[in-house]
């Protein structure tokens, strides 16, 4: 699905942001990138999306360059990035509209997705009328509307309160079970990473590099009950320890 080999990136003459990254992500995986700020997690996501190009090394998405593969990729940003002049449903339909999907099939798709994220009652509202969590749901629905095979998420729930974040995490896994996309997810939260991921990649800073990879073998479906399990706790401890090692280095 996604292959990064020997990828390095630096801006100008400053020390590299990322150095010699080798990472293979298979179809159906949910991979979280976690690490202290300045370790290049967001840069890595920008590279996979083709929004920036690597200094050296190669990135293949479905055997194509990141830019060629964009049709199969959706990106969810840190903030909801909704267009304030469009209603919820017109925001969800934006990607389809830009890809020139006909009005009828757009309408159908948009309606079903809005229902899927539980926003049917505000389909005709404008973003400023929505709470932070609702805005993020719209953003998720918009990303899924174009039926991506790869979903890139850059701390999408970072600005939300913990309750809302937990609920959206559960919803995200429910959507994944229904729709079968591969995910690369950037986060600061260990608990969030453990809950969502099949694998966690711990990055170390200056220069950004992969320090450790931890496979999260918690069974699916994961629910709020999962968070209380001792298995969950031990994964959180393991990832936290790995992160501490990276910090003190």
């Amino acid at each position: 699905m996604l292959t990064l080999s020997n990828v390095s990136k630096s801006y100008g003459s400053s020390p590299p942001v990322l150095q010699q990254i080798d990472l293979v992500i298979d179809q159906g995986e949910f991979v979280s990138l976690i690490g202290p700020s300045g370790c290049g997690k967001s840069t890595l996501l920008k590279l996979i999306s083709g929004l920036t190009s690597p200094g050296s090394g190669s990135i293949l998405v479905d055997g194509m360059t990141p830019v060629q593969a964009r049709k199969a990729v959706s990106y969810i940003f840190q903030d909801a990035t909704l267009l304030p002049w469009r209603t919820v449903s017109r925001n969800v339909g934006l990607g389809l509209e830009l890809e020139n999907v006909s009005r009828e099939s757009r309408k159908q798709k948009v309606e079903s997705l809005i229902e899927l994220v539980g926003l049917s009652h505000v389909a005709r509202a404008y973003p400023r009328q929505l709470s932070g969590g609702m805005k993020m749901r719209v953003s998720v629905a918009r990303a899924l509307a174009t039926t991506p095979r790869l979903l890139l998420m850059d701390e999408p729930f970072g600005a939300l309160d913990e309750m809302t974040r937990d609920r959206l995490n559960e919803e995200l896994l429910r959507l994944r079970a229904e729709q079968n996309w591969t995910a690369v997810f950037v986060t600061h939260s260990v608990a969030e990473a453990v809950f969502l991921s099949t694998r966690i990649v711990v990055l170390a800073p200056s220069p950004g590099r992969i320090a450790q990879e931890i496979t999260i073998s918690l069974p699916f479906p994961r629910t709020s009950v999962t968070r209380g399990s001792s298995q969950f706790e031990s994964f959180v401890t393991e990832v936290s320890r790995a992160l501490r090692g990276v910090h003190s280095a």
Binding site: L51, Y75, D79, L83, G95, L98, E99
Partner: protein, 263 residues
């Protein structure tokens, strides 16, 4: 709603107080009417010369509106070019600031000399004075789009045209309106300034600027006051017209136009 009516009542009370003071001052000091006519005399002038007052108002309104409309079209086109080509913006943007600082009083006689007296050159003066705020604000709106929104469009393989029409242009509407609001106010000033120099094809008939000159040369101070009043009314009408349009287009989504819908 109640809050607004109280504000309105206050404003009206102040206005009435000022009129009374003015009238009292006139009675007390026995000023000659050509120095300071009483409010009643001004009122009388408005009534008796209403048709010619309205005719002047209409001429000025047309010139100001024409200049404003032209400046919106041309200013937006220039802003579009500025937004699309950074090197052009770098080369020419300083000149729009120059345009803003050029005193219109100095330019108006030049334009009249080149274009000749008449409505067209007055409209041109209004156009020139309106252009700078439109260009500046529209350009700002077009280029200040959040980078992640552009990224979002790029991720969906949007064309440059799609990014322009579905992202940059709608995003620029609120700041374009800021420019239009500024321009609307000064378009009236521009038109009147132009008229001060433009003269008229018929003696005694012309826009507000011309009529103000004519009335002052004839020492018709009561009518002069009436004309100033008319100019103020015109400025107000333009301002509130733009405010209404702004509210109409933006009240659904933008902060700047929300206040009118609340309460």
């Amino acid at each position: 709603m109640k809050k607004y009516s109280i504000t309105l009542l206050n404003a009206l009370a102040v206005f009435a107080g000022l009129l009374l003071l003015w009238q009292g001052l006139d009675l007390l000091l026995h000023l000659p009417p050509y120095m300071l006519p009483t409010p009643l005399a001004v009122g009388a002038a408005v009534v008796t010369r209403f048709p010619s007052l309205v005719a002047s108002l209409a001429i000025t309104a047309e010139e100001a509106a024409g200049g404003l409309a032209a400046s919106i079209v041309v200013g937006l086109l220039i802003a579009l070019v500025f937004a699309q080509f950074r090197w052009i913006r770098r080369m020419f943007y300083p000149y729009t600031i120059l345009l803003q600082t050029v005193p219109i009083l100095a330019v108006a006689p030049l334009i009249l000399m080149w274009v000749g007296p008449g409505t067209l050159s007055v409209t041109l003066v209004a156009f020139i004075i309106c252009l700078a705020p439109i260009i500046a604000n529209a350009t700002q709106g077009l280029i200040s789009v959040e980078p992640n929104l552009v990224h979002l469009f790029l991720m969906h393989n949007a064309s440059k045209l799609q990014i322009l029409t579905r992202l940059r242009l709608p995003h620029a509407v609120p700041s374009l309106f800021v420019g239009i609001r500024i321009a609307a106010g000064i378009s009236v000033i521009g038109a009147i300034t132009g008229e001060l120099f433009a003269g008229s094809s018929r003696v005694g008939e012309g826009g507000l600027g011309y009529s103000i000159l004519y009335a002052s040369s004839q020492l018709q101070t009561d009518y002069l006051f009436a004309l100033v009043l008319a100019a103020t009314v015109l400025g107000f009408a333009f301002f509130f017209g733009v405010m209404f349009l702004e509210w109409y287009f933006l009240h659904n989504w933008h902060e700047s136009a929300r206040t009118m819908t609340e309460e």
